[in-house]
Amino acid sequence: MPRGQAEHPTSYIIAALLLIALWYLASLLLASPELPAPPTVFYAFIAGIRADLGYHILISTFRVVYGIALAGSFAVPLGLLCYINRVDKYTAPVIYLLYPIPHIVLLPLIILLFGIGDLSKIVLIAIIVFFQILVTTRDAARNLSTNYIYSLLSLGATAKDIYRHVILPACLPKILTAMRISVGTSIAVLFFVESFATEKGLGYMIMYAWSRMDYPALYASMVAMALLGLCLYLILECVEKRLCAWIYI
């Protein structure tokens, strides 16, 4: 099992319980309202779900998923096209100049262009994640062995066949890994873009609860954001296991 992971779900449960126990211990040691104990947060979470927390989770999910999907729909085709030398010659320098720049500072420009609604939030997430997916996809496409291409050409393949049967399936594991990594980034950006000029989303919930010094509600929102990230990560992992079964054998 070259890329094996801990298969047993019990190991995940044990790890989760251990982390919660550490949290509990820290809250007892600190004995401050600013770090409530897990049960307090759990009840606040349930109360939140009974109120409007679910709605805010939905809004945040929509923004993140939309952002990642938007980024992927541009980054993946462009990255795969970099397999062609002529495309890469013009694209690679641009990517490498733009990639290391902190794109989050583009926020004022994006608000200027797209307003302060959902669109500007989604676009900022998309821009940041776009580069992560693009760089990984491009590198995967560039490192493809030409033997695969020759092998397919010998069967009479056209350019379309090469993308369909070689380049896309060969790069797919790397693309999905990049998307999984981008979940973490996009949630961080989500918090940033939801922390002002909006009254919807988990970032807003966190800021609002913090300003009221309602610590159980604050942590309940943080837990919701963490669960959102975890769920998206797990979904992408399931997709990868399904679509790329061949790397797990």
Binding site: N147, Y148, Y150, S151, L152, L153, S154, L155, G156, A157, T158, D161, H165, V166, P169, A170, L172, C244, A245, W246, I249
Partner: protein, 240 residues
């Protein structure tokens, strides 16, 4: 028939792989191409297959491009496709209807002992089995010319002999032209009715040796076989 006339190949980086290569392989013959490593054997095969364009000279094939099949080194299988998907790939690309490609693939897989591995991935098979998948994929196209680049070089000696016998049978049964690039003198002599010996880079025909006794599985243990091996060995220029 395959005819190479004054073939030369210089790669864009200046590497001269082939220089003035001339030979004729009669239709239905089997031919081994042998030479020291790096002598442009693979380049020559890619040119015959039409994947690379020579920088000089030309190739005449007595067949349509779609009647030529190529088997690459290390089997050329796609690790992300199952055995069945690999076998039908050529037919799929050529737009053969699904039911027809299924019929062809299943009968070939049955013949090659691959039926129970249809849903396995190449990585789950032994080298010999992977090579069979490579053969099945090429044979599914019913080629008139079968080109092979060191198809058996990464197999153990016993599997190798089994598959050499298999190739011999295949050639005798199908009447196709077979070109085999190899670095094994014994393999070249066992399978090649015509043996083309190449010089080190830039590859050039050092000698063309006729080997009329090919076709018998027992050839390996005959005196004539050893004599022919010796003749080939004497004609192979030292590698650099």
């Amino acid at each position: 028939m395959i005819e190479a006339k004054k073939l030369s190949m210089v790669y864009p980086d200046g590497t001269e792989a082939l220089r003035d290569v001339n030979f004729v392989i009669p239709a239905g013959a089997s031919c081994s191409i042998i030479g020291p490593s790096g002598c442009g054997k693979s380049t020559l095969l890619f040119i015959l297959a039409g994947i690379l364009k020579p920088t000089g000279g030309r190739v005449q094939l007595g067949a349509e491009p779609r009647e030529v099949a190529l088997i690459l080194q290390d089997y050329g299988l796609f690790p992300w496709k199952t055995v069945y998907e690999n076998v039908v790939l050529g037919l799929q690309i050529r737009g053969i209807p699904k039911s027809e490609r299924r019929r062809i693939a299943l009968s070939l897989m049955d013949k090659l002992g691959l039926s129970s591995f249809a849903n396995h991935y190449p990585k789950q098979l032994s080298g010999g089995m992977q090579q069979r998948v490579g053969f099945a994929r090429a044979l599914a196209l019913k080629p008139k010319i079968l080109l092979m680049d060191e198809p058996l070089s990464s197999l153990d000696a016993l599997t190798r002999e089994t598959l050499q016998n298999f190739l011999l049978e295949l050639w005798k049964d199908n009447g196709m032209t077979m070109v085999l690039v190899t670095h094994s003198i014994e393999e070249a002599v066992f399978l090649g009715k015509v043996i083309i010996v190449l010089t080190p880079r830039p590859g050039h025909v050092a000698k063309i040796i006729e080997n009329l006794n090919v076709g018998d599985e027992n050839y390996r243990s005959k005196e004539a076989f050893f004599t022919k091996c010796r003749e080939v060995r004497q004609n192979i220029p030292p590698a650099i």
